[in-house]
């Protein structure tokens, strides 16, 4: 339908995981200074909320941008299943190299969902706690933003 309107679909998912913020490029003291208690050696956990937004044409036969069963299945396979009840630093390959801050988590989830075949990924929002939220909309968009209130993971 070409009426100049854009429709996006948003869906929220949850997973629980632990992480430790620690950078190999910093000394022990610097790690403690930068990351505070998020640097405690055995890590700590969060209940993460991932909000996924997709856009596309609304199929007149189904009234849908994408069938939720397809979106749910894709997110489950790419994100929820591999991330839920894991230690992100150890169990997700990307975070053996990169510090699993929620900024990096947001970008990793975006990267994994970018290839959803049934609709265009618009943005990913990750809520680490109810006070911390991060959004990533890819590099090509001007309006990608990171929203942070409060300290990391506290």
């Amino acid at each position: 339908m070409n009426d100049g309107l854009k429709i996006e679909l948003g869906r929220r998912y949850r997973f629980s995981a632990s992480h430790r913020l620690h950078s190999d490029r910093l000394s022990e003291e610097e790690n403690r200074r930068v990351y505070g208690k998020c640097n405690n050696p055995h890590g700590h956990g969060h209940n993460y909320v991932v909000e996924v937004r997709v856009s596309g044409n609304v199929d007149p036969a189904t009234g849908m941008i994408a069938n939720l069963a397809d979106l749910d299945g894709f997110v489950d396979e790419e994100v929820t299943e591999p991330f839920d009840h894991t230690l992100l630093n150890e169990d997700v390959a990307a975070f053996r190299e990169n510090v699993p801050t929620t900024e990096n988590l947001c970008k990793e989830i975006y990267k994994r969902l970018k290839h959803f075949p049934k609709a265009k990924l618009e943005r990913v929002r990750v809520e680490e706690t109810s006070n911390n939220a991060f959004e990533y909309a890819g590099e090509e968009l001007q309006d990608c933003q990171t929203v942070q209130q409060g300290d990391h993971g506290q």
Binding site: G4, R12, R53, T62, G63, A69
Partner: protein, 140 residues
């Protein structure tokens, strides 16, 4: 530019059924959303209007006025209704969040005379929403 958002809740039932598809196809595509007697949701609508505050009143538009528009156009039309059968604007469409949000946009846009309608977001559940805005507007 200031963006103001007003929320509204309404409760309604619907079902997903495309008469061009067989019973099996409807079941396959729409799952339990195609159960024949329908099912209901508590919908939450967020309506965002953009504009400059009037220098005299300090308002983009009077919230009372917006509340009345929402009451007349949305609550009276959709609250405690079976969307498939009782909402004229949805006739012939599957009442998904995507389609309802577009209908809501088209109902509200001409009624909002002060400021302009910027965004409409409709939650079907806390985990699922659709958003509508003009192409080129930022969907933040």
């Amino acid at each position: 530019m200031v963006y103001l958002t007003r929320k509204l809740e309404f409760s309604a039932s619907h079902l997903y059924h495309n008469p061009a598809l067989s019973a099996e196809e409807n079941k396959r595509v729409f799952g339990k959303c195609s159960n024949p007697h329908g099912h209901g949701h508590n919908y939450t609508l967020e309506v965002t209007v953009a504009g400059e505050p009037d220098p005299v009143t300090g308002m983009v538009l009077d919230l009372k006025e917006l509340k009345e528009i929402l009451e007349q156009e949305i609550t009276q039309r959709m609250d405690h209704r079976f969307l498939n059968y009782e909402v004229e604007e949805l006739k012939g469409q599957i009442p998904t969040c995507e389609n309802i949000v577009r209908v809501i946009w088209n109902l509200l846009e001409p009624k909002i005379q002060k400021g302009r309608l910027y965004k409409v977001r409709l939650y079907e559940t806390p985990e699922l929403f659709a958003e509508c805005y003009r192409n080129g507007a930022q969907g933040a």
